[in-house]
């Protein structure tokens, strides 16, 4: 990283020179969407620390980079992965359909989609733009709208590929679908911007596992955006594991719209990347919606992890529960901003947000900001945040049983995180998550 580089003024800079390759073959409506987004990038200055949403999340290191869209390295990358590189990153024992994206591009050769039940469509966005552009038009930005911030516009402006996951009415997907997003380094840092559209029609049920990983410690930036549209009475489980390269930047936008009586249950594990920012927005649009989101983040030296949560109770009778836990070591930094908004008409809302953090060092920092905005008068809402340290009593107890101080700290961290990880299904993924956490703790709290 060259410290002499000036931060970019507008995010448009990262797309310069790539327009033609990005837009080739676009239907006219997409050209217009893209142009609008480009316009926004050019006009809107990059967010600064004075903006509330970025107060504790310094963008400078990100903006000093000169990223280029990742579009052309797919062939050789795929070859390397086919030689078994991917094998080492699979979840042992996980029985799932699988979609692999390399640098944001859907790679059919690496994906496993045989035997998907009728009514379930899993396809590349690129392909879909050729086959059924109207469907893409109906879905794109339908849930995300303008997005949480200008990086959503960056994703639209640079839209290239991604996937669509569509489950027809009353169709149940028995096995999970796993989305593996692999980043492979190249000569210059890549900007990887997959766009994903997920739609469960009325009464449909599905589990989506979403993983970000890199077989190399390369520097790149992921800026993904997923829109999830849940029909009446549908139910989705969604487990997201961020295992990016330790030098990567990771931006992730997840936008969920819930119709009446739909259920969403998500978990988010953030273990990798040097710098990460996740925005999750949930909007209830029908009576009886239920949303549960868990999160676990781990940040050590030279790491920042940021979650911004936003739950919109627009209609009556919906329940939301968010539970995020953080572990911070060394000079690790974390930000948790959780907002619950209850509109005037959203009576009988049941909304709760909890955030607990364990700091293992004096140099670690967490900025946690739970917020409730309630305009209705018949609701049950709560929020709470805590920042604590390892209890000396617990540490002494473990050490008195022969366990080294570092191993005892790791054990207590695992115990703290267990509450979140234990809720991950299926079991194979839960074991994998425990393994990943344990490996990350081994690196962050090494034995003397």
């Amino acid at each position: 990283m060259n410290p002499a580089l000036k931060p970019v003024d507008t995010l448009d800079t990262w797309l310069l020179g790539s327009s033609e390759r990005l837009t080739r073959g676009d239907p006219p409506w997409l050209a217009r969407e893209r142009a609008c987004a480009r316009e926004r990038l050019r006009e809107e200055l990059v967010p600064g620390p004075r903006e509330e949403g970025w107060r504790y999340t310094n963008l400078r290191a990100l903006l000093e980079q000169r990223f280029r869209p990742a579009l052309g390295v797919i062939r050789e990358a795929t070859g390397a992965l086919e030689e078994g590189k991917l094998q080492a990153h699979l979840v042992p024992g996980l029985d799932a359909w699988c979609v692999v994206l390399v640098n944001g591009c859907f790679v059919p050769e690496l994906s496993r989609l045989e035997g998907l039940p009728a009514g379930v469509k899993v396809t590349s966005l690129r392909q879909l733009l050729l086959e059924d552009p109207e469907l893409v038009e109906r879905c794109l930005n339908g849930v995300a709208g303008l997005g949480a911030h200008v990086f959503a516009a960056l994703n639209t402006a640079g839209l290239h590929d991604g996937f669509l996951f569509h489950v027809a009415e009353r169709t149940h997907l028995e096995k999970p679908l796993e989305l593996i997003q692999v980043s492979l380094g190249a000569d210059e840092p890549h900007l990887i911007q997959p766009r994903h559209l997920v739609r469960l029609e009325a009464g449909a049920r599905a589990t989506l596992i979403e993983r970000y990983l890199s077989p190399e410690p390369s520097l790149y930036c992921t800026n993904n955006l997923m829109e999830v549209d849940l029909g009446e009475g549908s139910y989705m489980e969604h487990h997201r594991l961020q295992e990016e390269s330790p030098n990567a930047f990771h931006l992730s936008g997840l936008y969920v719209r819930q119709s009446g009586h739909s259920g969403y249950r998500g978990s988010n594990l953030a273990l990798g990347a040097a710098w990460s920012r996740t925005d999750i927005r949930v909007a209830f649009e029908g009576f009886g919606g239920d949303c549960k989101i868990d999160g676990l983040y781990l940040a050590g030296d030279a790491q920042l992890v940021d979650f911004h949560l936003d739950v919109e109770h627009r209609v009556p009778g919906c329940a939301s529960r968010q539970h995020f836990k953080g572990l911070l070591t060394g000079k690790g930094r974390a930000v948790l901003d959780g907002r619950i908004h209850v509109a005037k008409q959203a009576q009988q809302t049941d909304a709760h947000l909890k955030n607990a953090n364990l700091l293992l060092s004096r140099d670690a920092e967490v900025d946690t900001k739970p917020q409730l905005e309630i305009h209705a008068d018949d609701v049950k809402c709560s929020h709470g945040a805590s920042v604590g340290q390892i209890e000396p009593e617990q540490l002494f107890y473990l050490r008195s049983r022969g366990i080294s101080i570092e191993a005892a700290q790791r054990m207590l961290c695992q115990g703290f995180a267990g509450e979140i990880i234990d809720r991950i299904e299926p079991e194979a993924l839960r074991s994998y998550a425990y393994g990943k956490l344990s490996a990350a703790l081994d690196r962050k709290i090494p034995a003397e």
Partner: protein
Amino acid sequence: MLKIENLHAAIEGKEILKGIDLKVSPGEVHAIMGPNGSGKSTLAHVLAGRDGYETTAGSIRLDGSSLLTMEPEQRAAKGLFLAFQYPVEIPGVNNSYFLKASVNAVRKQRGEPELDAVAFMRLMNEKLTLVQMDRTLMQRPVNAGFSGGEKKRNEILQMAVLEPRLAILDETDSGLDIDALRIVADGVNALRSPERAFILVTHYQRLLDYIQPDHVHVLAGGRIVRSGRKELALELEEKGYSWLGIEEEAA
């Protein structure tokens, strides 16, 4: 085996132990009695290496090695075990996982091979039977939501698995009903051996009905004011601490 000489220890500048001398030989059971505030628990904690105590003078040697320079985990590897008065709850950490980590940490420090899952299960099952502990407790988080008796039994189980040279039981009898007390005492008695020694720290004589001590020491004001055989405990029970001119501090 254990030799404590002129041990002085303070908490936040306040001296609690004011010159303790104690010798424990293999196979012996020593009871340390005394009123509240006499320094009994401090002595147990200083032996185990808890933070926050400053040893201002004296020495503790276990089998010839100085304990005071060792970390708590090194003392455990050396064969010292403290059964806590208030066993600590560790939410989220599975009891059996913890016990395996513990026994293997000790074995590793001693240069012994770690136990694999099968060998550990065999050992654990054998000791569970010995202390008559419900095995479902092994699949729960360490001590979390355990009853008082279950917690104490878990301490005895850990002791049985770790097979220490010297076990210190800090007020293990407190808060136990007679049945639980008997089970804990049976566990301790089953572990008595010519190579192993015990120090029982207790306020009451009650525990000593079940575990017969070889020596009884009365601690008051940070010093051992009287030592004797087990009859001393009975005498104390009958006459109270005031018999020795000791005033009990309000608990």
